[in-house]
Amino acid sequence: MNGKPLVSIISAGMSRFGRHDGLLAREIFSEAAHEAFSRCPKLDPKGDIKALFIGHMGEAYEHQGHMGAAAADWAGLTGIPATRTESACASSGAALRAGIYATMSGLADVVMVGGVEKMTHRTTVEVTEYLAMASDFPFEQWHGITFPALFAMMATAHMHKYGTTEKQMAQVAVKNHFHGSLNPKAQMQKEITLEAALSSKCVAWPLKLFDCSLITDGASCIILTKPELASKYTDMPVHIIGSGQASDSIGLYERKSLTSLNATKLAAKTAYEMAKAKPQDIDLAEVHDCFTFAELMAYEDLEFCPVGESGKLIESGETRLGGRIPVNTSGGLKAKGHPVGATGTAQAYEIYLQLTDQAGKRQVKNAKIGLTHNVGGSGATSAVHIYRRDLK
């Protein structure tokens, strides 16, 4: 039997992911908050929610820091303690972890955690520069090393060591675009061909345009409570049974391995142990496919396959909807989109839908255990969470 619930999710919300011209981040967050409140009529947001943690990566996009207070205000929750968490692309994975700390400490019975980013009003060159801020400045950014370049260097090393191919990476894109075609909130809802992915223009060799996640506006949130209070709010909670977060050196160059993320391995070990679950127990997962190669590396770091065999796993089709362990049924960062601060809790939103049978055309049948994997920077932060369907 798996571990005891740490906290329970009683509701969740997510804005449409894509372009939200004319809206500010806080306004997009209102949309996610509204959905979460609407899904849970027994919740009195103003009376019950005692804290907000919100992931938001960059002040540069809107010249707006201090997103904790701004998001609380636009969600109608002014007055509660509201804190922004920043861990690059894992900002809301860290918010979720902070929400678990707050709930389990006993300081807050009901906590809202979420994330938001507004990116599409900026040029690709500007976004490239802002995202690079999540990497080491004095030795990486200063020498022209972009964010895609860091994952590209890991991909090059993996290709050299294990024979992983550009085609296998492209297959991740094809799969995730297929999943995205089944998600009405995804930024990209069209399937792509392997040929189109392989012939797209170079970003940082071996990564091409279709190996990269998207520039996206979006917001997401989930509402947590103590497991013993969940039935007060809903008859279909989802329980979080494992939580791990870990760090690594900010510079990729300082790490022992260039073909795996140690922070993910550490976070996964903690989460699996807490959940009393093994990798084989996971029915579906949302993993951090900021680049197609990152999804392959996640297969290995989360032990969905042996080290060096992630290329074979994507080729097998086992991570596609209908396979042994569907990965990124939402479309992932690749097709659903990657509003960086919102991604961690958007992954939790997808698992919440799946484990309450609300995922529509992309529903994974009989899924009981789900996992989310949210990476910040080139792997200096990783958050892994394990979820279980309510077993009545």
Binding site: E129, H143, M153, V203, W205, L258
Partner: protein
Amino acid sequence: MSQQEPFTIEQFYKFLKQQKLMAGQCIKCGKIHLPPRPLCDNCFSQDFKWINISGKGKLLTYTIICVAPHQFQALTPYAVGIVELENGLKIPGMLQNLTQEQLKIGMKLTLDFGSCNTTQQWPQWQRYCFKTL
């Protein structure tokens, strides 16, 4: 060699400007830090000495960047990589005048001290690079 220089990244780049590649070595546990740091992450000592290290190494991995931030756009496409120096120290940087066909993991490279051709703004650091021996 002065022992009074602070064990900082700023100082690392000042030495580079003097054509010296320097690392900090912890006097207590012996760990070598590149870049130098003021607190040893192994034994928490604050006592270090500077050591001169060779700029010769081998290429561990690389990429060719085609999409770059504004200040590097004119250079695209350009190669960057991570180089392993002696003592197992690793450092990233641009790989000068090397095409994709020439790049091979394991190839021998050496550090070129480069120049600091930046504006008046912070930081005034050298942009070193790596080239073939």
